[in-house]
Amino acid sequence: MKIAVLIKRVPDMDLRFKIASNGTSVDESGLKFDISDFDGYAVEAALQTKEKQADPAASEVVVISLGPDVVQETLRKAMSLGADRAIHLKCDTPVHDSYAIATALAAELKGGGYDLVMFGRMSIDTANQSTGPIVAELLGLPIITAISKLGLEGGRVKARRELEGSYELIECPMPAVVTIDEGIARPRYPSLKGIMAAKKKPLEVKPAQVGEERYKLDKMELPPERAAGRIIGEGKDAVPELVRLLKEEAKVL
């Protein structure tokens, strides 16, 4: 089985961000980067799928990433987890138009003979959740998005998608594209052995054929500061005030 996993290099989300002086990107000083969370689940799902094959050695997990040279670190990280080889689609300027990105990805994936093309359900930074379905359409492949359970049976993908207060059981024939949600697999931790092996695995660099950009980023800004909290009262007498605040101020009730 041949599986492609599309991954994105993103900054660690637990830090506070500052906007760079150009106003359209994040100030990278002090930031650490890694594979985007959902992409990480996709990589893990791909690795587990390969390991479950009758002859795992005959299967291949290929990781692909679009971006500047520095994404090669992220590709190596994916290989340290167990991916077999990597493809770097080189693109030095950030692209925000999902259609334009999908054009570049689809160009690479076409003819690759992949049984499964896996995405994280969205990138944790730009959070558009659109690239996967557009790639599937460009490849003419069926796609199931945001799956929380993945099963492969008799050449078909059998999956579960979480909805609001309910879920769908959904399937399609392979080859197929899937985007992965939380809950499928917990990513493994790279062993030192894996890290050393990854240094020797093949990594190919190609120019990215990004499509026309019709959705452009104008600026980035920080949301209004979280106002300092306050103790609104003591004992059960404070409850009515709390409910009022939740309704009117926080708008969560």
Partner: protein, 635 residues
């Protein structure tokens, strides 16, 4: 003894010694299956001192007030009686031989008297030992991993040896010959039984004490540095062939006494881990490997993940072992293999690993918040001082807990106040500080550890830091004892020691103690401060100086017998699912002293003790030593 029988005897002796030599060579061959280790011929004075204290004077043996004298009697008796046995055997080969012509007569008579005296003591001791084993059900002498019949055999054998010795002295003629030959054969047989028994310790323990680093020389408790660049086939240890020859020798030195297991906090609270079992398993697996069995490995087939992850690395086992075995080093090498080789570790630890890698702290807090506790306290950072071309007297290394945990931050502020009151010129690293890496290293993640350590050393060296004071024993141990492995050499002082020295120099202004009520405190010893670095008195002295009206009560398990709080070895980040909670065990012990407050000198201990005390709805407070002092500052 006729010349014919002496010839026969000589043959017997030669055969026996020959067989013994064969076994020695075989065992040495087994040791060679392990790999090279540190030089162990260094610091000879220290080694000989250990040999004297721990070996000859049985210092650790006496920590058990019942078995101590009992064993000392057998051991010293053994030493004394060996002289007599030697004389006897040589006389058996060369009739008429005796030591008498070589020594002054009174000395010889003294020697003869001691043979009898010690012989009697040995009989008494082994009788008591047998009685104790058979009737008393001593907990630490039991255990599935022990060889239960061996001790009974050996004790009886020794008993019979003594009886035959006395009997041969007390009889003549045929009876004498009978007893003499019995004694001789039993001795030679005993010697040759040793390699097949746990009583090999008779031969191995003194060399083991001499060759061991566990009581210094060298740095106590430092983990073996690893070269991660080289093409390494195995990380850490998966099997006995990956351990050092010294760890294998430890296996031969173990007499299965169980003292290590009896002080292991994990074992005490019902976990599977038994340090004794670890050592016995090493020997068992080694013997199987030497016989050609390559189908099993020490890791998984003998020692399970569950056992390995239960360890808090408190070092009580190493402290207690009378023959200086290092059980902990085996546990840590196996952990390294699990993590570096196979990424096998409790799932709940992964966020801590990832956070250390991404954010330089095991908790998901913004590194930018590290210096926030100092807001309004007028404490400069190293960066600020460097800009003014200044250097502080000392760097205050705060640590992750002290920077981010609300309770620990109070300790941080308290210590900072003391430093200010003493007019110490100090600075902090603030955002440039990263986790010292101890948690990663103890869990076996050497890769992550070295990354953190090297980054910290680069930062410290960039500022030309010479002296560091820290309130966290783990930071203290790392920066002082293990960072030198990567070229980071600094003088590191624990805050309790530092405060004590400031007080001794009169630099800490304390209030007059007019009518302050008597406070009863008990102090909980931190493992990394105590057993790793021998700091037991400084925190106590500091408290006594600060609180003249202090009534300090000790817990039954204190100082180098102190029970771990349960957080070390990365366990702070793991779930405790089996048996009783370690911190509950310790909290109970603390509360049982009747103290109205507990003092600690470590943020992990603080958390563990406070959590457990709170869950008991107790009003006993937990304070850091710095808080005790800060509370008495003349403001």
């Amino acid at each position: 003894m006729t010349s014919a029988s002496s010839m026969v005897f000589t043959v017997v002796v030669v055969a026996a010694l020959g067989f013994f030599a064969y076994n020695v060579q075989r065992l040495v061959g087994e040791l060679r299956l392990g790999h090279r280790d540190d030089v162990r011929w260094n610091d000879l004075p220290r080694r000989f001192w250990n040999l004297l204290q721990i070996g000859l004077f049985q210092k650790k043996i006496f920590r058990d007030s019942v078995a101590g004298p009992m064993h000392a009697a057998i051991f010293w008796g053994f030493c004394v009686l060996t002289l007599g046995t030697t004389e006897m055997i040589v006389a058996g080969m060369f009739p008429g031989f005796s030591f008498a012509p070589f020594v002054p007569a009174p000395l010889y008579r003294f020697y003869e008297m001691n043979q009898d005296l010690w012989g009697a003591l040995v009989i008494a001791a082994v009788s008591f030992a047998l009685f104790r084993r058979l009737t008393k059900r001593v907990k630490r002498l039991q255990g599935k991993e022990t060889h239960a019949d061996d001790p009974l055999l050996i004790l009886s054998w020794i008993g019979v040896l003594m009886i035959t010795m006395f009997a041969s002295h007390a009889t003549t003629g045929v009876l004498h010959d009978l007893f003499w030959w019995s004694h001789a054969l039993l001795v030679l047989g005993f010697l040759n039984y040793l390699p097949y028994s746990k009583h090999l310790h008779v031969v191995v323990s003194l060399p083991n004490v001499f060759l061991s680093n566990t009581s210094g020389p060298g740095v106590i408790g430092a983990m073996r540095p690893m070269d991660l660049e080289g093409d390494v086939a195995v990380f850490g240890a998966k099997d006995v062939t990956d351990l050092s020859w010294k760890s294998l020798l430890d296996g031969f030195a173990c007499t299965e006494c169980g003292r290590c297991t009896s002080v292991c906090p994990a074992n005490i609270t019902g976990k599977l881990l038994s340090p004794r079992k670890i050592v016995i398993n090493v020997r068992e697996r080694l013997e199987a490997e030497a016989k050609g069995d390559h189908s099993k490995t020490l890791l998984d087939d003998f020692i399970t993940e569950e056992e390995l992850w239960s360890c808090t690395t408190c070092r009580a086992c190493v402290q207690e072992c009378p023959v200086s075995i290092d059980q902990l080093s085996v546990i840590l090498e196996l952990r390294r293999n699990l993590v570096l080789g196979e990424s096998r570790f409790p799932a709940e630890v992964m966020p801590a690993f990832e956070s250390m890698e991404q954010r330089g702290s095991p908790w998901a807090f913004d590194p930018g918040d590290r210096g926030k506790w100092a807001a309004g306290l007028d404490i400069p950072t190293m960066a600020e001082m460097a800009e003014r071309n200044e250097r502080p007297e000392v760097l205050y290394w705060v640590g992750c807990m002290g920077s981010f945990d609300d309770r620990a931050k109070k300790t941080t502020v308290a210590f900072a106040k003391i430093l200010k009151a003493a007019h110490v010129n100090f600075a902090i690293l603030g955002q440039e500080e990263k986790c010292n890496g101890d948690v990663a290293r103890r869990m076996g993640n050497e890769y992550l550890y070295q990354m953190l350590a090297k980054e910290n050393i680069a930062t410290l060296d960039r500022y030309g830091v010479k002296t560091v004071v820290t309130a966290c024993p783990h930071c203290f141990h790392q920066i002082g004892n293990e960072y030198p492995q990567f070229g980071g050499n600094y003088e590191v002082v624990h805050h309790s020691t530092y405060i004590e020295s400031l007080m001794a120099a009169g630099r800490v202004p304390l209030r007059e103690d007019l009518h302050e009520p008597v406070r009863t405190f008990t102090y909980h010893d931190s493992c990394y401060l105590g057993r790793y670095n021998d700091v037991y008195d400084a925190p106590r002295e500091t408290m006594k100086r600060a609180l003249p009206m202090l009534n300090l009560v000790e817990m039954p398990r204190s100082k180098d017998r102190g029970l771990c709080c349960g957080a070390g070895g990365g366990r702070m980040f793991m779930e405790e699912k089996v048996g009783k909670r370690i911190n509950a065990e310790r909290a109970e012990e603390a509360l049982a002293t009747g103290a109205d407050a507990i003092a600690v000198a470590c943020p992990f201990c603080m958390t563990m003790m406070a959590d457990s005390i709170k869950s008991r709805d107790s009003h006993v407070e937990v304070y850091d030593v710095a808080e005790v002092v800060a509370g008495r500052l003349a403001v």
